[in-house]
């Protein structure tokens, strides 16, 4: 099918874009990479009155080192993030997750901020942002605010962003020396939408992992940070039974959706298996690291 009729505007600066969003709130939609928006237009699942193309706004480009955090502007493509040596060195979870994001041609256009703004339940970057507790910067005419990723995602395609706001950048906190990360997902075809996935951040202490941030995605309406995971401490030499029990405890927090990819309860079991594998891998890497010390 073909896209419905809309008005197309391409402002040259952020103020111009924010003015359009303010004057046409609820009707105007930001067009960045378009890799999710364009399919919905072509399939007539959405019909915004106006598209505000932000691709010419130079201030929204670029990955920048801000010391404690790395800034990713609204026009940074997935491919740029994937190819950034700065990101790979300072934020290992992104490097683990990025190979799962879409396909090459889609990564060349799709933006990381756009993925967060859409909040597709099966997308990787929202889960990564929640696991890392990234900060999302929202601008509207005359105002800026910063929202924690852990408060940003509110439900199926529902976020804290207001209609007259746009994400201008994300601030990903850089990994501390004692942090270790894991990522795994299940999908029908590599690069396709995830049936279920896990993104994990943990603290490496002597002989164990603690301070676990475990995020389930794909199966949930929005990325779910497991409340039970925080209190779990995993010994580096824990048995498979212990690991399975821990995974079961954490997946008990899930509220997986039934859909054509499977029943919710199936996904809970799949998540437990993914989580066990991921944690075992992380424990292995933690052990290698401690033997280095």
């Amino acid at each position: 099918m073909k896209a419905p009729i809309f008005t197309y505007r391409r402002p040259d600066d952020l103020d111009g874009a924010l003015a359009l969003l303010a004057d046409h709130a609820g009707e105007a939609q930001v067009l960045a990479g378009g890799q999710s928006l364009m399919p919905t237009l072509n399939m007539r699942l959405s019909s915004p009155g106006m598209l505000v193309d932000i691709n010419r706004i130079a201030s929204l480009r670029g990955i920048a080192d801000r010391g404690e955090a790395i800034r990713v502007g609204a026009l940074v493509r997935h491919a740029e993030v994937a190819e950034s040596s700065l990101m790979a060195a300072r934020i290992p979870l992104i490097a683990l997750a990025m190979p799962h994001v879409a396909h090459m041609a889609v990564r060349n256009r799709g933006t990381t901020c756009g993925s967060l703004a859409l909040a597709d339940p099966s997308a990787e970057m929202p889960a990564v942002a929640v696991a890392l507790d990234a900060r999302i910067v929202l601008n509207k005419r005359g105002a800026t605010r910063t929202v924690s990723a852990r408060a940003f995602f509110q439900g199926l395609y529902q976020t804290a962003r207001d209609d007259d706001e746009m994400i201008t950048e994300i601030l990903f906190p850089v990994a501390r020396k004692n942090q270790i990360f894991g990522f795994a997902e299940l999908s029908r075809r590599h690069g396709d939408f995830a049936t279920v996935g896990v993104a994990v951040r943990a603290r490496h202490i002597v002989g164990a992992l603690d301070d676990l941030s475990v995020v389930f995605f794909g199966s949930e309406p929005a990325p779910l940070l497991s409340p039970g995971a925080r209190d779990i401490i995993l010994a580096a030499d824990c048995t498979d039974t212990t690991l399975a029990d821990a995974a079961r405890a954490m997946t008990a927090d899930m509220e997986p959706m039934d859909n054509q990819q499977g029943r919710g309860e199936t996904k809970r079991k799949q998540a437990a298996v993914l989580l066990q594998r991921t944690l075992r891998d992380m424990l292995g890497r933690a052990r290698i690291r401690s033997s280095d010390v």
Binding site: I5, Y8, M38, L41, M43, L51, A105
Partner: protein
Amino acid sequence: MSERHSITLTLNGTVISAKVDARTHLADFLRQHLRLTGTHIGCEHGVCGACNVMLDGRSARSCLMLAVQADGAVIETVEGLTASGIIADLQQEFVARNALQCGYCTPGILMTATELLSRTQPNRAEIRDALSGNYCRCTGYHAIVDAIEAIATRRAEAAS
């Protein structure tokens, strides 16, 4: 009435100007306005990869980009890459190895291969990973991977 916008872009090495409807995507502009029908439309929602073109040197889905967004861009389609001869070796290898049957997916796959080969000398796993964004319903992919791998090796040998 859909509003119309003037665009100027470099297409297959030639600067062209046109007026396009805001809602027209790049693939329809190429095929219907310019009659460059080498770029194919399969799913029209970014899944199949048949509409891939080269946009500023990298592969992109032309069904997921508005024609008006191509204003100022450098775009190459399979017609341009064929005329320039820079993928002649790849095309000949596809023929030699029966890496196509109906051929509908081939222009899109050639774009993926063009970008992949321009960046690295990919191994089979990397070729398969890149091809995960292109559907071929005839070949089972094996011959396509063979053809791309053969060209990767040949170009590396020629460069050394």
